[in-house]
Amino acid sequence: MSGEIVVNVCMGTGGIAAGGDLVMEEFSKQFEAAGIQNATVKEKCRLHKVGCRGFCARDVLVDITVDGEVSTYQYIQPEMVSRLIQDHVIGAKPVKEWLVGDDYHTFHDNQTKIVLGDLGKIDPESIDEYLQVDGYKAAEKALTTMTPAQVIQTVKDSMLRGRGGGGFPTGIKWGFCAANKSDQYYIICNADEGDPGAFMDRSVVEGNPHAVIEGMIIGAYAIGASIGYVYIRAEYPLAVDRLHLALKAAKERGYLGEKLFGTDFNFKIKVKLGAGAFVCGEETALIASIEGERGMPRAKPPFPANKGLWGKPTIINNVETLANLPHILNKGAAWYASIGSEKSKGTKVIALTGKIRNTGLIEIPMGMPLKEIIFNIGGGIEGDKLFKAVQTGGPSGGCIPQQHIDLPVDYEGLASVGSMMGSGGMVVLDETDCMVNISKFFLEFTQSESCGKCVPCRIGTKRLLEILTRITEGDGKEGDIELLLELAEDVRDSSLCGLGMSAPNPVISTIKYFRHEYEAHIKNKKCPAKVCNKLLTFFIREDMCVGCGMCAKACPVNAIAGEKKLAHKIDNHLCIQCGSCFDACKFSAVLKE
């Protein structure tokens, strides 16, 4: 409709956390009020909630489109809504000072969006909007014009690899599964995104759930599955809600159920909520969890493609892998294989976070150099700090230092420096981050998430963590680094599943690139990044201290004394290095060294 005015409000988890729902409510309230007096608003305005468009650092993002001209606003809060409506919607004059800047465009222009293409544009709760962007066309094409073998061949030719971390070619996996003779096959969508610092899958399910469902239909048809499961984290309430809505709508329209697209193919999808166990991201553990058991992995082979859920051939694909499928079927395998690097085709969705200016969700062609991601799309390091390392692959990955900044980001590139793609989390660290502490953080995570079935992982990660804790508390001993490396290699080589095999990666990679930091902790009892409190001495700068007494009040061991309005002093014999005074001081007078 010409002259239509569309207002898009970002309503992903990030957007809502920043106040998106309040902004939405304000718009709808004011539209209603304005609509009574103003015919334009009444007839031509459409308020629209959309999924995450990636630039979460600037939330709440609002698009106002007048006559096809899009203006994007950043940091919008409810109290700003009335001016947007008065000036822009009614007055047709954009509010210049609230518009996004050039960096918003650098952020987006350097990306290649396939999976995220429709996120931020369509309403995830409306199946009609998905249909408008060619939704369910790919599934129809596969079911009505192709044989299952042709679908598998197309996916093989596209060279799509599993986006959950392993990077196994999807088409080949399907082929293995379909080759089994069985009365029942299953397809499972793995949406148990447990990596800290990763929110790709959540955003896709929240922003475009129908794409995932369509991917499942295509996969199910290829292997002959009539039942599918989505195993999704219960900690993602919004994603779960939108998934349920999408499933209901798809069923009502006949995209799920019996005789799909007039063929004899039947397919239904059930949702299983994860109960909070990181190890359930592992295929065999995930299957055990769907079966209602403790989510413990088992030895492979047999692989799930041969013997999976209830002993039947089962395919498990990650959310992002599935969301790629409709595009591959629509545009062809050759198109997909033309994007990316030699062995890693297509794009990868990455959660870019940490000490970086433009945090958010991005999608890049495989093989893009790390430097471009961090400094072009990411806008460089936050504040005036120096880049130190980037952590990829979550707790299973490693830390990549400055010297490898030109590294191409694909499966092979990241593996060559001892890290991994993982599910696509990328946490940027600056000079104020202690690498020993980071390594300890990940070990704490894997140690507490270890299921306990195999000894190397259960006890090995515990011992690794003990040594790291000792080092960060100033009790590191000569030989600890060698001990860590030896133990890390043993755990890596002898654990049963991916969790244990990759748990030592953060330790190995930080020792490889930041050995000097370990040595400073062990030999000099110093933490160069000033993070490990036990290795620091706290003192008060007399010229900065105004004598407010906040530090003395905060100190749990009464180690700080001083007259009111005069400079205070810390008694270092009593100090337990808890850092409370540092947090309490409003004048930056407490220093640590």
């Binding site: 920043a18 929110f199 959540r202 109960a275 209602g292 403790r294 940490g354 990940f442 409370s580 947090d583």
Partner: protein, 155 residues
Amino acid sequence: MDKQMTETLEAIYDKCLANEDNIITILQEIQSKIGYIQEETVNWFAERTSIPASKYYGVVTFYSQFHQNPRGKNIVTVCCGTVCHVKGAPRIIAKVREDLKLKDDQDTTRDMLFTLERVNCVGACSIAPVVLVNEKVLGKVTPSKIVKSLKEYKG
């Protein structure tokens, strides 16, 4: 066990039987209806379903979602994802513990007003560090800010 409780459990049993649900779903149902998993509920279900109670406990203790103790009126969840960690989550936890006077082995206050929990990642990394008080998401939290936020939940 009182009559009302038995009826609640019976209803859960019927629902799960109709859906052919497994132990995990049964326990999720119990928790959403009753709030936590008590010994007597497990025993009741063990008998009703002829599945040993040990099997239920195996599942309850494996998954972090299940709670065996009653929880406070307000749940304070501190995100401990990587980004929140490097941006100060440990200091926030320490401050919350101090503010709510929680001992090391304690997660719920004596007056049952607050329970402190950790979550691996809520995926709101762009506004780290993040704390959830019940459903409300607080972004860019500092130790002093969280103390201020908690004040409004104290009676």
